[in-house]
């Protein structure tokens, strides 16, 4: 039996029943050991359950994930689920939109995650007067050569942190459509592919905040996850204060070191792509996403890209949980973060105080789990 599993706190006795947003993401426990079995006549597990181990070696993935978690934990207090979902998106080759009120370490978390990867990093502060050429780059005339030369913009990096993405108007947002989906820029008829990996980590304040624009639906659809960053608990906030008080400003960001290279990340992603998916689970994903298009509380349902996002995310999550196949648990866990920014509530549902997460929860309850 492999020892890289550890007890899922959700399954520990007397653990509170978690919601889909608060479910811990630790790797699931292996079969119970004989000592843990009660007085049953036949102990479950034993030698037979040793056969139930992943067919692919996920030890490298687990090791790298642990290293990233450890590096993030040097600075970030709490936000464990956030870090795990960022890892999931990283392995699923997806972009992440972080939403939260100011001051909850959205930018810091994204910046630190970028620091754990030894890949080119770029940061963009979106402002209302930003132009598309400020993001993508522009052609400049070189008098010495007598010709125009493309000068790449800050988007040409492997990890791009776009801070306050909804402070820029729709014109600038549109500049990101091609690069986020196709990982390339087309300028003056010339295609400029971006280096792999390419991940956009964007932060934004809620739309109710002053000076923000609503992101276009087409752009929201290009984000794999939309993660809501909440306030820390009292214990976590005390830990933050203690850390700053003791260290006169907290742990410096330079303490976080790169632990995963671009080539290693590519290999891990290939491994995630080979995860096993039972056909009934594909149907389950299609039904969940299909329900968003038939729900009376929604006027805009999720696209097929959402189905792909749910599938790829579930594969990465299953790998992080130590499995080489996905389960309905993975899909249900990721459904809110995959669907919440891709669906639009009807005005009357919005007036009733409904949220996209409520609708996703209803949909999850309306579709039978395949087993």
């Amino acid at each position: 039996m492999e020892n890289n599993f550890h007890m899922d706190s959700a399954e520990q006795p007397n653990a509170p029943v978690p919601t889909s947003d608060s479910l811990p993401l630790a790797a699931e426990s292996p079969a119970a050991t004989p000592a843990s079995v009660g007085t049953a006549a036949t102990a479950i597990s034993g030698t037979s359950s040793d056969a139930f181990t992943p067919r692919t070696d996920l030890s490298a993935l687990s090791r790298h994930a642990d290293a990233i978690r450890a590096e993030l934990g040097k600075v970030i207090v709490g936000q464990r689920d956030l870090a795990e979902l960022l890892l999931t998106a990283l392995l699923a080759d997806g972009h992440v939109l972080l939403e939260g009120v100011p001051g909850v370490a959205k930018t810091l978390t994204a910046k630190l995650l970028a620091r754990t990867l030894s890949v080119p990093f770029s940061r963009l502060q979106f402002t209302p007067d930003l132009m598309p050429s400020d993001v993508l780059g522009t052609s400049v005339f070189r008098p010495q050569k007598g010709e125009f030369e493309f000068r790449p913009g800050p988007i040409f990096a492997s990890v791009v942190l776009i801070d306050e993405i909804n402070r820029a108007p729709a014109k600038t947002q549109s500049a990101l459509f091609e690069v986020m989906e196709e990982r390339q820029i087309t300028q003056d008829g010339v295609r400029y592919p971006l280096p792999a990996p390419f991940v956009v980590l964007a932060t934004q304040n809620p739309i109710e905040q002053e000076g923000t624009y609503r992101l276009p639906e087409a752009q929201l659809d290009r984000f794999l996850f939309k993660l809501s960053v909440g306030y820390p608990t009292v214990e976590e906030e005390i830990a933050i204060l203690q850390g700053h008080h003791a260290g006169f400003g907290g742990t410096p960001l330079e303490a976080v070191k790169p632990v995963v290279s671009a080539d290693e990340l590519r290999q891990l992603r290939e491994q995630v792509g080979r995860q096993h998916v039972e056909p009934k689970l594909l149907e389950y994903i299609a039904r969940l996403v299909g329900q968003t298009r038939a729900h009376k509380g929604l006027y805009l349902g999720a696209s097929p890209r959402a189905s792909l996002a749910l599938l790829n995310g579930a594969k990465a999550l299953a790998a992080l949980r130590g499995r080489d196949f996905i389960t309905p648990e993975d899909i249900q866990y990721l459904a809110p973060v995959v669907l919440r920014h891709r669906i639009q509530l009807t005005p009357e549902r919005e007036m009733e105080g409904g949220t996209p997460d409520d609708v996703v929860k209803q949909i999850l309850q309306s579709v039978d789990v395949p087993r």
């Binding site: 959700a10 029943v17 049953a40 037979s48 139930f52 080489d324 009733e352 999850l364 789990v369």
Partner: protein, 280 residues
């Protein structure tokens, strides 16, 4: 001889020029007639109408005894001619029905009937409020349909999911004949299906003992959480792991492995049935 106007304010506008001329003539006349006694330039005061000596004067008018004039009538032919002139026709005459098309007559009739709803004796009574209510309801319904609003939520009802374009496969574990289905799967050598049926059988027994609340939308880990704290939890976790690897993971299950796994399922079902270990 004109009197010179000494007070400029009391003179009319053309008087200043005339005043100069009058003074000139008066000076010339004096020289022609010889020297005369100088007259005071101050005019005598006007009679005071409020004085006691000023008595009111009345004017007596004579009654008009002249005979009344006769009304002249234009000639009948002239009157008819004037009436024919368009300048004197202040109301447009309605076109003759003979020139109306069938379509225009239809609309005329429709509007006449609609106007009739708001006139007549019924309209004058309280019955008109019924007509108002009917029209308001019809207008509201059309508005809701056009805006595609759903106000059923205001009455306590919530929107139901529209039918999906594919058939929803539901499987109620209470309706499965496990003995028959298991025997069939084992006989066919489909041990993967047999292990699944055995796991569903354990869920059925847990449901019958009210140890879990069976719902089709729950995952296996939901049931694990419901069993948390009981002595059944570790064994059920192991069975769940077996089921997930064989069913969701499609791990090959050899014929030699199945009997032991089935034995573990039967043992767990025995524990649940005996209720010896149901709760800690």
């Amino acid at each position: 001889m004109p009197q010179p106007c000494l007070l400029r304010r009391s003179c009319p506008a053309p008087l200043p020029g005339l005043l100069g001329l009058a003074l000139l003539l008066a000076a010339g006349g004096g020289y022609a007639q010889g020297p005369a006694a100088p007259r005071s330039p101050v005019l005598p005061p006007a009679p005071d109408s409020l004085a006691v000596s000023a008595a009111p004067r009345y004017v007596r008018l004579r009654a008009d005894t002249a005979p009344a004039g006769t009304l002249r009538q234009p000639a009948a032919a002239r009157l008819a001619e004037l009436r024919r002139q368009p300048e004197f026709q202040y109301v447009e005459p309605e076109p003759s029905s003979a020139s109306d098309s069938l379509w225009s007559r239809f609309w005329q009739e429709l509007w006449r009937r609609i106007a009739g709803l708001f006139s007549g004796e019924t309209y004058e009574t309280r019955g008109r409020y019924v007509v108002y209510a009917l029209f308001a309801a019809a207008f509201g319904y059309v508005l809701l349909r056009l805006l595609r609003l759903d106000v059923t939520g205001l009455l306590g009802r919530r929107g139901r999911a529209l039918p999906l374009p594919y058939e929803a496969l539901t499987e109620d574990i209470r309706g499965i004949d496990f003995a028959t289905e298991l025997a069939r799967a084992e006989q066919a050598g489909n041990y993967r299906l047999a292990l699944r049926l055995g796991y569903l059988q354990t869920l059925r027994h847990l449901t019958d003992r009210n140890l879990i609340q069976w719902q089709p939308d729950k995952t296996n880990h939901d049931y694990l959480r419901e069993l948390a704290g009981t002595r059944l939890a570790p064994d059920f976790r192991a069975l769940t792991r077996q089921f997930e690897y064989v069913w969701y993971g499609e791990l090959p299950l050899a014929a030699g492995q199945y009997p032991e796994l089935r034995e573990q399922q039967l043992s767990f079902i025995g524990q649940v049935s005996s209720r010896l270990l149901a709760t800690s």
